[in-house]
């Protein structure tokens, strides 16, 4: 039997058969607690991006700014009108976004800005990037379906998306689909 999530932020039941949460849909999940809280603070579900004390919190000047505002300010890969969001790691996500007619939305924060943020702010911004794309109803493509790397951000992103019922279209698939929602 598969292992369930240790703490379910949205109180959604975990289905060990499909390895996903039985999300009734993103809008409902959002209504149950996902919110655009300031980056360094806990959301309604009691979750912060990092459960550990943040040693850099004092130096994170952006910690009090809403993640969506940080995205607007810093994400150079923003292309919300494209309707396509690329998940994955640099530079493959950039290459993939550039290969799509009309471009695509991808997360591209200046590395020096990113490094100046606390882990909580970083995770909150990454989360906001995914949340906004889900709310728009974007199509989600994986930059390199060849292999998901343990410990990398893509693995985290796929685990996060699974909270809302998104799964890969096949074991090596390059797209995320949500069987609970009409595509």
């Amino acid at each position: 039997m598969a292992v369930g999530y240790n703490s379910d932020p949205f109180s959604l039941p975990y289905d060990s058969e499909c390895g996903c949460l039985q999300a009734p849909g993103y809008a409902q999940a959002r209504a149950r607690g996902i919110g655009d809280t300031p980056a360094g603070k806990s959301d309604q579900g009691g979750n912060t991006a990092s459960p550990n004390p943040d040693p850099n919190k004092k130096s994170d000047k952006d910690a009090s700014i809403a993640p969506s505002d940080l995205l607007k300010k810093y994400n150079r890969g923003a292309n919300p009108k494209s309707g396509v969001t690329i998940l994955g790691n640099y530079p493959a996500n950039k290459v993939k976004a550039g290969s799509i007619t009309g471009g695509a939305n991808w997360l591209d924060i200046d590395p020096d800005v990113w490094d100046s943020w606390s882990p909580a702010t970083q995770r909150a911004v990454n989360k906001a990037f995914l949340d906004e794309a889900m709310l728009r109803g974007d199509r989600f493509l994986i930059e390199d379906p060849r292999g998901v790397l343990p410990g990398r951000d893509l693995e985290w992103e796929l685990n996060y998306m699974r909270l809302f019922g998104f799964v890969r279209d096949s074991p090596n698939g390059g797209e995320l689909i949500n069987p609970n929602m009409s595509q």
Binding site: Y90, D110, P145, G147
Partner: protein, 161 residues
């Protein structure tokens, strides 16, 4: 001009690739607003290519053949494949935020250099053109297993953890 930290740390910790395996730094055009070496570093020998990429505070490492120079395979997967075991040999770690950004990067690059040192002869042999063409189908099949079986247990990882 000061050398970008990523390039500097790669040259320092992966000096053995230059000294023992004939790699040298080659320019690459991904850094559209940053100096070369701050976000991407590519090394190349007469046999294959190795790329270091910096994304969201993490540094990853991949290899490619000379004939398909942008078809990168991450070495976390490649080392598992080379060991012939359906399990994760090592994984990337979160940046250590108790350190300053330069020291965080140094720690990651040094760790990769230490982990990968025993594997280089096999890695280079695999990415040698004639070998790679023979192995690609087997490698692709391994990656399917990786995505289905090997990572299955990790699906329970709490993304908020």
């Amino acid at each position: 001009m000061e050398q970008p930290v990523l390039l500097n740390r790669v040259l320092h910790h992966f000096g053995y690739l230059m000294n023992e395996y004939g790699f040298s730094v080659v320019s690459q055009g991904y850094d559209y607003d940053k100096p070369f070496g701050s976000r991407i570093v590519v090394l190349q020998s007469k046999e294959c290519r190795v790329r270091f990429a910096r994304d969201r505070g993490q540094v990853d490492i991949a290899a490619a053949t000379l004939s398909r120079p942008e078809d990168w395979f991450d070495l976390a997967i490649i080392t598992a494949y080379l060991m012939g075991e359906d399990r994760v040999q090592w994984e990337y770690i979160a940046p250590d935020h108790s350190l300053n950004p330069a020291a965080r990067m140094d720690k990651q690059v040094r760790r990769l250099a230490d982990i990968l040192k025993p594997y280089w002869e096999q890695i280079i042999a695999l990415f040698r053109q004639e070998n790679f063409e023979q192995k690609i189908d087997d490698l692709d099949a391994f990656i399917v297993r990786w995505n289905t079986q090997i990572l299955k247990d990790r699906r329970g990882i709490n993304p908020f953890g």
